[in-house]
């Protein structure tokens, strides 16, 4: 009888081992397949804005960026605006169009040489620094580069209302 018992338990263990390995081997790809894409950080592409020659020195201009947004396998174009100008040294400065206070759209006042936000009267200088009003931090600069005569930016959004620049 004791021999019978070990035989039976051998089969039981072998069956459990086979079933267990199948489950284990399957769970790795399935978890990776289901979870990894959800954790993936969205990568913003460089979007072309247009010829850099349209920018004037120290004279901010509102430009449109058409960026392609992808969600899974779907791609869609979305239009956003940015503020951009050239510095005397030739460098291009690009600001997100969203006020750091509560997210209104501001504009450049050419008379006063200031960025003015109509909502709660925040104002910023050419370097984006806060001149007045409730804005908690300078304007948010966006990554920009010039290739040939074309201007490219990476459009990003940041949380408003806090003193840190934090990407959404």
């Amino acid at each position: 009888m004791p021999e019978e018992v070990t035989r039976r338990s051998f089969f039981g263990k072998a069956i459990a081992a086979i079933a267990g390995s199948i489950a284990l081997i399957l769970s790795v790809p399935i978890l990776g397949y289901t979870i990894l894409p959800a954790l993936r950080k969205r990568e913003e592409p460089w979007s072309e804005v247009g010829p850099v020659t349209q920018l004037e020195m120290n004279q901010p201009k509102e430009l449109e960026v058409v960026r392609s947004v992808s969600s899974g396998w779907m791609k869609a174009a979305s239009v956003r605006s940015i503020w951009a100008f050239r510095k005397p040294e030739g460098e291009v400065v690009v600001y997100s169009p969203i006020c750091t206070h509560l997210g209104c759209g501001y504009h450049w006042d050419d008379q006063k040489k200031k960025f003015l936000c109509p909502c709660h009267n925040s104002s910023f200088d050419l370097n984006g620094q806060v001149l007045g009003g409730p804005a908690p931090r300078p304007l948010d600069a966006l990554p920009a580069k010039v290739e040939g005569d074309r201007l490219y930016v990476v459009y990003k959004e940041f949380k408003s209302g806090i003193s840190r620049k934090e990407e959404i």
Binding site: I15, I18, I22, P29, G32, Y33, W73
Partner: protein, 441 residues
């Protein structure tokens, strides 16, 4: 700890009698490796259900997204190609196992009284599995899927009187489109799985009511009687494990195919069905015109009629194969017929040069841009620029694409203008150039 938990559960639910009922079923003649096919098929069905559920996470059953979503699974999701590969190869494996299972039951005469109903339920399961194959084929919405389904549906159209109505019902309208895809998806993922689960339950219920058939030799069957557990379960588990490893190796190394996106305007595509329909596809070729319905309707009807009648034909109680010569000869002839057709079909399809539609598009672009004004291919065109007859042997993809965009960067001093095309068009033109090879002709 684990022991105490399982003991507690077992006591609350009074499990021992259930386990006894499940595992101690007597197998006449003892456990055998020949009995594994049914359980491996069941295992494969469960694997199909599992991988199918996970594929549905990323799949979109509409014509404007189906192809992209499958490509997304295939190329961008980690393990996506593997999961799809398992589902793809699992389907084929299921067909093989069902075939072997039916063969074994037929050879052993296990369908005879009192198991006639089990055989018939099995027949329904076979039809359901074939329906899974047919509805699943369309879902990737690539060229193969689209045109093969087009053909499949047209075959149904040859059914006398109601063919036209049937095709409309299958397609959900006058043509193959969004409504077809969504109903095939619903049938494949919602209707069929429940039907199959119910049929499997019935199949197994009957098995447990009437008992396993055991060997055809009565003396052998009576000599030994062994419980289902542990030896038969062990053999089943080993077979499932081996099957699983085969599928894992296949899925990891041979990805499921994905042709170009379905293009209803391209009628040059020659659809070939999945291999388990291939013998039938070949058979159809011998019936033309008026006789077509013989192959599309009469013979399939006859086949399934005979299939369901099998338990009631012949000498009803005899199970030993040598004493059932008619059954063995007819069964053997059927196998010879199937494999001959399959062989012929494989031979014929292998000889079809698979035309890449991108190459045709590239050729059209070549003509549109009037490249022949400077270049010559196989004696056609001017001889101002280099002869491109064997360009595919000389250049690679990267070189060609870079050269089209900016010829001077690669061949300084060349007066070839840079080619202004979209990425997709550039890709097609490059594919066409690469197809220009010596051995291709």
């Amino acid at each position: 700890m684990m022991k105490r938990i399982s003991a507690w559960i077992s006591k609350r639910l009074n499990l021992p009698p259930v386990l006894h009922h499940l595992l101690d079923e007597k197998i006449p003649g003892g456990a055998s490796w020949i009995y594994i096919f049914g359980s491996v098929t069941l295992f494969l069905f469960l694997l199909q259900a599992l991988t199918g559920m996970f594929l549905a996470i990323y799949y979109a059953p509409t014509p404007d997204h189906a192809y992209e979503s499958v490509r997304f699974i295939q190329e961008e999701i980690p393990f996506g190609s593997f999961i799809r590969g398992l589902h793809h190869w699992g389907a084929s494996a299921m067909m093989v196992m069902i075939g072997l299972h039916i063969l074994q039951v037929f050879l052993y005469g296990a369908f005879k009284a009192p198991r006639e109903m089990m055989w018939m339920v099995g027949g329904f399961l076979l039809i359901l599995t074939l329906s899974f194959g047919f509805t699943g084929y369309l879902l990737p919405w690539d060229q193969k899927a689209y045109w093969a389904t087009q053909v499949g549906i047209n075959l149904v159209g040859t059914v006398p009187w109601i063919g036209g109505a049937l095709t409309r019902i299958l397609r959900g309208g006058g043509d193959l489109g969004a409504l077809t895809l969504s109903r095939f998806f619903a049938v494949h993922t919602l209707f069929l799985p429940w039907l199959v689960v119910m049929m499997i339950a019935l199949h197994l219920f009957i098995l447990r009511r009437v008992g396993a058939a055991g060997p055809w030799d009565k003396k052998k069957a009576e000599a030994v009687s062994e419980p289902f557990y542990p030896r038969q379960v062990f053999m089943d588990a080993v077979a499932m494990g081996v099957m699983f490893i085969v599928l894992v190796v296949l899925a990891a190394n041979v990805p499921a195919h994905l042709a170009d996106r379905a293009d209803p305007t391209d009628t040059t595509f020659r659809p070939v069905p999945e291999w388990y329909y291939l013998f039938y596809y070949q058979f159809l070729k011998y019936f033309e015109g008026r006789f077509e319905i013989v192959a599309t309707f009469v013979i399939p009807l006859l086949f399934f009629g005979i299939f369901f009648a099998i338990p009631f034909l012949g000498r009803r109680w005899e199970r030993i194969p040598v004493k059932r010569p008619m059954a063995m000869i007819l069964g053997g002839l059927f196998l010879v017929f199937v494999f001959t057709m399959l062989g012929l079909a494989v031979k014929e399809t292998a000889s079809i040069v698979v035309a890449d539609p991108a190459i045709a598009r590239g050729k059209a672009i070549y003509a549109k841009l009037a490249c022949a004004g400077c270049h010559r291919i196989q004696g056609e065109g001017a001889q101002v620029g280099p002869d491109l007859s064997y360009e595919g042997d000389k250049r690679d993809k990267t070189w060609l694409e870079a050269h089209f965009k900016d010829p001077q960067s690669l061949s300084p001093g060349s007066f070839m203008p840079s080619v202004r095309l979209s990425e997709a068009e550039l890709e097609s033109l490059t594919r066409y150039m690469l197809s220009l090879k010596k051995e291709a002709r």
